[in-house]
């Protein structure tokens, strides 16, 4: 599955990082960096991350 993050909205709250630190990471200057391709068995975590994002910036695509 593909993970999209709208960087116009992302404000580095870090909720996704707490849920899936292997996929999401706060890099230099607190900018979010993330894996765009994620194995399907991580779907539950990705949905949890999308749901936890205060900015609703995370979108999943099959």
């Amino acid at each position: 599955m593909k993970v999209h993050v709208d960087m116009n909205l992302c404000q580095s709250h870090g909720e996704c990082v707490a849920i899936a630190p292997d996929v999401f990471e706060l890099g230099d200057d607190d900018m979010l960096v993330w894996q765009e391709e994620v194995p399907d068995d991580r779907r539950a975590d990705m949905e949890a991350a999308a749901n936890a994002c205060p900015m609703m910036a995370i979108r999943l695509e099959d």
């Binding site: 116009n8 992302c10 706060l26 607190d30 936890a52 994002c53 205060p54």
Partner: protein
Amino acid sequence: MSVTSDFIDLSDHDNFVDAVPYVALARLRHEDPVHWNPERTGRGFWAVTRYEDIRAVHRNPEAFSSEIGGTSLEDLEPEHVEARKSMIDMDPPRHDELRALVNRRFTPKAVGVWEGQVRKVVREVLDRALPMGEFDFVREIASEIPMQVFAEILGVPQEERREIIEIGDRLLGNADPEFAVEADDDSHRHLPFSSPAALDMFAFGRRIAEERRHSSREDIMSDLVKAGLTQREMDVYFVLLATAGNETTRHTISHGLVALTEHPEQRELLRSRYAELGRSATEEILRWATPVHHFRRTARYDTELGGREIMAGDKVTTWLVSGNRDEAMFQQPDRFDVSRQPNPHMTFGPGGIHHCLGAHLAKLEIRVTFEDLLSRGVELELVGPPERLRSNFFNGIKRLPVRVIR
């Protein structure tokens, strides 16, 4: 239209003067969580009072628009909504474009850079206020700290800072007779908060913008100047930053002092373990204070919420102040607990594209304020009841007389 309902009328500002109507809100949560509230001077609105339903509304901007009709309860003509709307009253895509202009200046790391300045502001404000012995906490401390921090961040000169506070008071207290200017006059409906004071705030913002146009800085106002906004977009952006970041934090600090005074055992617990509890106490003060009672959305199409049918065009108000006391989400919600964890309060919004831009900054200001205040070896005692703002929108304290005890 006559109002016949034995539930509280949430459109009546008088129902918020003595206190937040927590009991009436709890009754709504239990008996009619998506409640139709008729209005004396309006077409009525849905009042959403449960945490989960509020969250559902805010996380579905497709169905529940901020742009159709704006985010305040008051019904306005479409041209007035259009004329006064900031990004808070917009839907994607324009909302997202405007928010992106300043979003990176409010990330945790960007805000963390200001911690030194916030500490300095708090220290100076307390150094000046406490020797007065007896004073109005709102005027001398709670309004002063956020405005000084905001001014610092925007680069407003020291001598102009009192002026911006006074404009803000007039702008936001418009439902309160003490601050209202021509409150029944329809000629200001095109202005933010329907208040003529908005014009003064516009003028203030224009002065700063003009300076940045000539000499750019590494700051928010320079970002906005460079973005090529229209004059109106610039005006309302400034009003949004000045009001959203100031009045809310002010009221939260005032409510925080009241809460800590009324719960001395919590105050002593916090004082003895501030390094450990400072952050959870900040979240609890935010939950307890809920400086904005509600926001409004408008249904874009026919939809369903909590088992009720919502029709396209219906006004839907979400009562954050009720969600923050929802027993389904918080254990003993009416208990003030500085060590409460988890604390998923919705004071900054329950998540969604309009989630408070300045959340991290507000938390920093509140945490630092009480850290400093509790470490000075003095106590503040209330010498009169808090004087509340007459408003169903702001949970505001106008005056809070205090005395310093050593």
